[in-house]
């Protein structure tokens, strides 16, 4: 920022940051995917549910409640010395996303992970991004790397629009997870090029 250059000689300049969300139902492999491509061991921050929407006067009795927290796991990929990408594994239940008001705001896009054994677990995430117009790809995380269904069948079961890529992947594998992210970037680039009409 313009007003904060006084100490620039001493302190490295803050990089630009962008984020991609890794979404999907509980236990579908979100944190696994974050961990397989992140340059750091995934970090976790927890937000006590009891803090949300409570005024200070409402605190009486909180100490008797179980600590109910919603966790957010995230990783980091340094693109270059001026640009850092963060990957946020979203909480499985969308109703808890309000804990991080800005989670979806300003995201480049999202990966919705899909587990063929529990397809319904990812419906809500697909809905969420469709409704907000946030670009996403579907990553089909095969159990133990197996992929019994072709992508077309999964596309049908999720009633995905034509433009949403479906990629088979193994969230445990760095290259596989990376390729899902690259598919998302290719989608974003294609839509940016198409949107400006410069292609």
């Amino acid at each position: 920022m313009a007003g904060s250059e006084a100490s620039a000689a001493e302190t490295p300049a803050a990089p630009d940051t962008v984020k991609i969300l890794i979404a999907g139902g509980f236990g579908v492999g979100k944190t696994t995917m974050v961990g397989s491509v992140s340059e750091i061991v995934p970090l976790r921050t927890e937000e006590p549910l009891t803090m949300a929407g409570l005024g200070v006067d409402d605190l009486a009795g909180i100490e008797r409640k179980k600590a109910t927290t919603v966790a957010l796991d995230f990783g980091r990929i340094t693109i270059n010395d001026r640009l850092v990408l963060y990957l946020f594994g979203t909480p499985g239940q969308q109703r808890f996303w309000f804990m991080w008001n800005d989670l979806a705001v300003g995201a480049l896009g999202a990966v919705v992970l899909f587990d063929v054994r529990r397809p319904e677990a990812s419906f809500a995430a697909v809905d969420f991004f469709e409704r907000r117009g946030i670009p996403f790809v579907v990553g089909v995380n095969g159990f133990d790397g197996a992929h019994p269904y072709p992508p077309e069948e999964i596309r049908d079961s999720l009633a995905l629009p034509e433009g949403v890529p479906v990629v088979l992947c193994d969230a445990r594998e760095r290259e596989s997870s990376r390729d899902v992210l690259i598919t998302l970037l290719d989608l974003l680039i294609a839509s940016a090029v198409g949107g400006t009409g410069s292609a």
């Binding site: 920022m1 904060s4 006084a6 100490s7 001493e10 302190t11 490295p12 300049a13 803050a14 990089p15 630009d16 940051t17 962008v18 984020k19 970090l43 976790r44 921050t45 937000e47 006590p48 009891t50 803090m51 409570l54 005024g55 200070v56 605190l59 100490e63 409640k65 927290t69 957010l72 995230f74 980091r76 990929i77 340094t78 693109i79 270059n80 640009l83 850092v84 990408l85 963060y86 946020f88 991080w100 800005d102 989670l103 705001v105 300003g106 995201a107 480049l108 117009g133 946030i134 760095r174 290259e175 990376r178 992210l181 970037l185 290719d186 974003l188 680039i189 940016a192 949107g195 400006t196």
Partner: protein, 120 residues
Amino acid sequence: MSESDAVAGRLVRPFALTGGRTRPSRACFTLIATVTAVDPPPERAPRPQPEQARILRRCARPVAVAELAALLDLPVSVVVIMLCDLLEAGLITVHPPHPVTDRTLDLDLLQKVRDGLGRL
């Protein structure tokens, strides 16, 4: 410390750190905004509280708000309120994330991210 003490500690402590406040005074500290300690600190700045000093040590180099919260093992909501105080005291600077809206997808930025992923 017993399990139940640890649980109580996590719930009570954050409010103590923020003086009972649950809402930040500024909206600039989003999850991937980066904060950096001002070095040297301004002379007129008040002496930081111990938890504030912990934050300042962690952001001697630029660090994202979410990372800071994870490293300090504090909820983001609490760290953000403390960051507001530090910003008002002139002890940190904040760098907003790269602006992203659905209308202004930045082709150059996207290509950089894609190239970076390709190098993984």
